[in-house]
């Protein structure tokens, strides 16, 4: 890792944290306002790529684990890892990796065409939702003694908000990559 | 401090620099032995790249650049150990969240016991009457305080030469004056890149950069007069 990679990782971890402090975004039709933090996780993958993106998320999570109040709403500490959200937090790490991996392999660093838009959206959906929910659901199923299917059905209410985030992540990624493209790593 | 007797401080011999397929510096030939060198030039004239050559952040594409007797290409580490660098924006230079931790950073790479490192940090902060900032969060400091902390973190490494890249650009007048008088009091060799021409009036020599070349090389008065005329034309 070059010094610049370390700086990118640290800065993006800080961006994910700062997004948690920004006011939540109210969205018409969805009861809970969506926080920008999971958006930050998707963006870590789309902008930095698999390795650096996942490491940025890891750095952020270590700081939360250390007890810094960096989760959206000023929360932090080990209790959020052993509690119900723990699986999702771990899922963020793998989600960022999968998103970065898809982008790295399927879009070019310079050309942003319609196909690229579509791939970024699919990547955010697969990585940011499917991959994040998998450990999240398993964790809750274990905690509550329920089956995977039951928890899965229960978490469906969050999918519309997350899908919206995937769209926002795609739009932000396209804009950022047009102004300041970074080779995905 | 012992000056290099008879040796030159900077010795550039046909130095060219190419970055991203663009030629930034053309055939630089300059030798200096003075205490304080000023560097001026329009934006994009190559003066910042010149500054970055002086401590090995950039190396010449061809030609030879010797700093304090060390070749930048061959012994980058020796050059870096002896040449400190103060950037325009201290917010990008200070990398630790707490003042004392940041100043200590450079020392951590050397085999110095922790107690001694702490003592050095306190010593350098006291020298500038900044000891009260020791345990402060960096983001709570003023711009002037940040620039002084950035300078302290460089001085603690005891460099023989310090390169400043527009250190006063972001400061208000009071802080600019404080930083200016600190620079004038340094016993180290100084290379100062700046748009603040008044800063250079007491310097020993001023280089004027224009389109990647040294267009004038003279006493501050002559060089600045030349530069002002050039900028007005």
């Amino acid at each position: 890792m070059a010094t610049k990679d370390i700086v990118f990782i640290a800065l993006f971890a800080a961006i994910i944290a700062a997004l948690g402090f920004l006011p939540a975004i109210p969205v018409a039709g969805i009861p809970a306002p969506i926080t920008a933090q999971t958006l930050g996780v998707m963006l870590a993958g789309t902008i930095l790529g698999p390795k650096r993106g996942a490491l940025a998320v890891a750095v952020f999570l270590i700081l939360v684990l250390a007890g810094l109040p960096l989760l959206a709403g000023g929360r932090g500490g080990i209790e959020y890892f052993v509690g119900n959200s723990g699986g999702f937090l771990v899922g963020w790490f793998f989600g960022a990796y999968v998103i970065g991996f898809i982008l790295k392999n399927f879009i070019s660093d310079t050309q942003i065409n319609i196909r690229a838009h579509f791939i970024i959206l699919i990547a955010c959906f697969l990585g940011g939702i499917c991959v994040v929910y998998l450990p999240g659901i398993l964790w809750i199923a274990r905690n509550t003694g329920s089956s995977f299917a039951e928890v899965y059905l229960g978490s469906l209410i969050f999918i519309p908000g997350d899908f919206l985030k995937a769209i926002v992540a795609m739009l932000v990624t396209v804009a950022v990559r047009r102004i300041y493209p970074i080779a995905l790593k | 401090m012992v000056r290099l007797e008879g040796n030159s401080v900077l010795e550039f011999d046909d130095v060219n620099l190419v970055r991203n397929d663009q030629k930034i510096l053309h055939n630089l030939n300059v030798t200096t032995s003075e205490h304080r060198i000023g560097v001026v030039g329009a934006n994009g004239s190559g003066k910042s790249s010149f500054a970055r050559l002086l401590n090995g952040l950039l190396v010449p594409t061809d030609g030879s650049a010797k700093i304090l007797g060390h070749d930048v290409n061959q012994s980058t580490k020796d050059v870096r150990r002896q040449v400190g660098f103060v950037f325009q924006n201290p917010d990008n230079q200070i990398v630790y969240p707490v003042v004392s931790e940041d100043i200590e950073l450079g020392l951590k790479g050397m085999d110095i016991p922790k107690a001694e490192r702490k003592a050095k940090v306190e010593e350098i902060l006291s020298r500038f009457n900044l000891l009260h900032l020791k345990d402060r969060s960096v983001h709570m400091l003023s711009g002037g305080e940040k620039q002084m902390i950035a300078l302290s973190s460089v001085l603690i490494m005891e460099p023989k030469m310090i390169v400043f890249d527009e250190p006063t650009t972001l400061l208000d007048l009071r802080n600019r004056n404080a930083v200016a008088s600190t620079i004038m009091a340094l016993e180290q060799y100084v290379v100062l890149v700046t748009h603040d021409l008044e800063l250079l009036s007491e310097f020993d020599r001023v280089l004027v950069f224009d389109e990647g070349r040294i267009a004038a090389d003279d006493s501050p008065k002559e060089a600045i007069t030349w530069y002002k005329r050039k900028m007005a034309s």
């Binding site: 944290a17 920008a36 958006l39 080990i78 052993v82 509690g83 | 990008n92 230079q93």
Partner: protein, 199 residues
């Protein structure tokens, strides 16, 4: 921006080495799922609540510390009750609430720098992987902490600038310049690091 939950004190939990607190937490989180006896579970919850009193958490901190995690525990216990039965719901409640409270106690009695040192030691056996050198890890964590307030302030400045131009707040118009301006600093920051680190 206060970035610490640490509670000053002198309890055993404060004095225990960080690794032992974590080991304790891991042991408990596994052991809890082997306990089905409600008497034992209630006794453990009572002990954990006593622990909160023992480390002297001030009353006004209680809400911030426990409200949300416990609310989540209750929510998931109800979920468990609905999809399974009362027994499962209660098991979920007692196990998770004890665990969450215990974890919160570890959080408020561990200094951030102690935790960081613990993480670095934990990663020591992995230091053959280039990125996971303890020095690199601690530098990265510090860099992140250094720039969180800066980036937050940048976000506020961008919002203000857009409001001044009469633009309505729009997450994309905020996040794009936030990311671009932040990443553009990476060159200068890594130059500064290279200039200052001598190895």
């Amino acid at each position: 921006m206060d970035l610490s939950f640490y509670l000053h004190g002198n309890s055993i939990l404060h004095k225990m080495p960080t690794w032992s607190k974590f080991a304790l937490l891991v042991v408990f989180s596994i052991a809890f799922y082997a306990i089905y006896d409600f008497k034992v579970l209630i006794a453990i919850l009572a002990l954990v609540i006593l622990l909160v009193a023992y480390i002297k958490v001030p009353l006004k901190r209680l809400k911030a510390m426990f409200a949300l995690p416990l609310f989540m525990v209750v929510l998931f216990s109800i979920f468990s009750f609905v999809v399974n039965d009362l027994n499962a719901g209660l098991l979920t409640f007692f196990r998770l609430s004890s665990l969450v409270i215990l974890a919160a106690c570890v959080t408020v009695t561990t200094k951030i720098e102690d935790f960081m040192a613990f993480i670095e030691n934990l990663l020591l056996p992995l230091s053959f992987i280039p990125f996971i050198k303890p020095k690199t890890v601690s530098l990265t964590l510090s860099l992140t902490l250094r720039f969180i307030p800066e980036i937050f302030k940048l976000g506020m400045d961008i919002k203000e600038a857009q409001a001044a131009r009469g633009l309505r707040s729009n997450p994309i118009a905020l996040i794009v310049p936030l990311i671009v301006l932040t990443l553009k600093r990476a060159d200068d920051i890594s130059d500064a690091l290279d200039a200052r680190m001598l190895d």
